[in-house]
């Protein structure tokens, strides 16, 4: 065993070592509990870091520092935020449905955490290796919608009802293209197991890895998946359910204190989970981007990719204004959905065409041409948008 492999597998080894203290009957359970606790701690820490990264990144994009007062360079800001959230008064509207109002944020966080069960964080480091891992992921991630609607309904506020309605419509609409984009990978990989999908991508031709994103259909699929994932996790420019300038804060307007923080955690965990799924499906999971970089531990690569995707989310949030509900729906059903279907065709062709530049050309043309056409004719409320020219008086 070389040193690199030892570092790579150190958590697995540690797990085995710790579990060895437990009686043999309890070992599977102990291993699972240990894994779950680790995942929770790691991803909650990552959540805190993401919030900090987002606030500082947005600040820098806006010509200011961002939080820099709590601890050195403001790195303790998430701690301060957490303390604030805990000690704040928890206000529940009198007319709210108390039980549902309480359950909604819990449900969202639980659902978000369940997603991580099938994510392979490193070589041999998936909590469970389900045969239908991808399916499990999508099944669980739609549970969030239930939580969101519970929150909006139970609050008995018109604004939160609006937010919930928008959230339901949006998340269901975007689940379709998201799933179809993922289907492309499943078609090529021939398996629903996340571990298998990553392993298929972790081989190299020379220095170049066999990531699915490096094919025409994979790249398209990745882009479509990310757009749908942005909408799915209610991030700007698809943050209509929150829509803080229109419907104030949407479905969590009536939440305060730690329940509000739970929504926040749920949102970010969801965002990280979908990013992790995108990495698994298209970006080669834990595999290194170049063959010569394999000395770096696999879990390291996973988190590097994850943070990079999160930065993309933050970048978009710092730049783009928000869409409107009807435009959002149009975009999903009239642009994303046809594109994913076209992409499926391209994937099928890729699978059966002989290896060579012709296959690149055909599949590439098959995604670029519909993109250009659909992008041109995209229907924003029955008309086209264009930059205008203006005239001057005299």
């Amino acid at each position: 065993m070389t040193r690199a492999v030892a570092v790579d597998q150190m958590f697995v080894t540690l797990n085995h070592a710790l579990v060895a203290y437990v009686p043999a009957v309890w070992r599977p359970l102990a291993s699972a509990v240990l894994g779950v606790v680790t995942v929770m701690v790691v991803f909650l820490t990552l959540f805190a870091l993401t919030v900090l990264l987002e606030r500082k990144g947005l600040g820098r994009m806006q010509n200011r520092y961002g939080p820099n007062r709590v601890g050195p360079w403001g790195i303790l800001q998430p701690v301060a935020d957490g303390i604030k959230a805990i000690i704040k008064e928890d206000v529940v509207p009198q007319s709210a449905d108390h039980a549902v109002h309480f359950l909604a944020p819990v449900l969202i966080v639980v659902a978000a955490f369940l997603n991580y069960a099938v994510i392979p964080v490193g070589r041999g480091m998936a909590l469970t290796d389900l045969n239908a891992g991808v399916l499990f992921f999508f099944a669980i991630s739609s549970m969030v919608e239930l939580g969101v609607f519970m929150a909006g309904w139970a609050s008995r506020s018109k604004y939160s009802l609006f937010g919930a309605m928008r959230a339901i419509a949006q998340m269901i609409s975007y689940e379709v293209p998201m799933l179809l984009a993922a289907t492309a990978t499943v078609m090529v990989a021939g398996t629903l197991s996340t571990t298998r999908i990553v392993e298929m991508q972790a081989t190299y031709t020379g220095q170049i890895p066999h990531w699915f994103v490096l094919t025409p259909w994979g790249f398209t699929g990745f882009c479509l998946f990310m757009v749908a994932a942005t909408a799915e996790s209610n991030r700007s420019p698809f943050d209509l359910p929150e829509g803080e300038s229109e419907i104030v804060a949407g479905y969590f307007i009536e939440y305060s204190g730690f329940k509000f923080a739970l929504f926040f955690i749920g949102e970010y965990l969801g965002m990280m989970a979908t990013s992790a799924m995108a990495i698994t499906l298209f970006l080669g999971g834990w595999s290194a981007p170049l063959a010569c970089l394999q000395w770096f531990p696999t879990w390291g690569w996973f988190f590097v990719k994850l943070v990079a995707l999160l930065c993309g989310f933050i970048w978009m949030r710092g730049t783009l204004p928000r869409l409107r509900m009807d435009q959002l729906m149009n975009f999903s059903w009239k642009f994303l959905l046809p594109m994913t279907l076209v992409n499926l065709v391209a994937t099928g062709l890729w699978r059966f065409l002989p290896v060579g530049w012709e296959r690149w050309l055909i599949c590439g043309a098959l995604v670029v041409v519909p993109y250009a056409l659909l992008g041109r004719s995209i229907n924003w409320q029955g008309r086209k948008v264009a930059v205008r020219r203006y005239r001057y008086a005299e």
Partner: protein, 212 residues
Amino acid sequence: MLGRGIVEGMLETARNFLGSYVSRERLTTVQYPEERLAHIENARSFPFLVYDGADWQAGMRCVSCQICEKECPPKCIYIEKSVDKKPDAVGRPQNYPKVFNIDVSVCMSCQICVEVCPFDAIKMDVEYELGAHDRFGGLLLDKQRLSKSNEYYHRIHPTEAAAVDAALAEERAKMQAKQQAAAAAAAAKAAAPVAATPSAAIPSAPATEGKA
């Protein structure tokens, strides 16, 4: 093609993001308690009363003419006139304010009091870190808290203060010349034989004394 404008916008934010690490132009925050903006000479916050010399009571320029009290748009100045008189900045005997209060919580920093003051006695301060716990009394500045020395005035508004000093010096010189002339005239009158009407000389004598 769809997405071009979005990409352009994202490049713009990226430029600002990276720019914030290299250029002050793109990182405009002034970290307030540690850093401060450079003092701008014309800046104004709330009014204060100028005094000459070391003693704020003796040197106070205000003669409690109450013009500022009348002209103040939100009526935040409150003045009570003294009964006795003391010499003012140019040497004329004048009243002084027994009470001079400015309610800074009402003041709207319009500096109309400064404009209308014929004695250059009230000027605008640049102090902006005012805070108090008491809503009624804490920001009600009395005569003593309002008084600041002419040196302080020179420090915060050097150009304006120099002009004011020059004008005051000129007026003071004129005043002294007048007083000297009056004193000389009185002396001449006193020296002259009493043949002239004594009734004319007598009332002028206390007046000269008063002016001196």
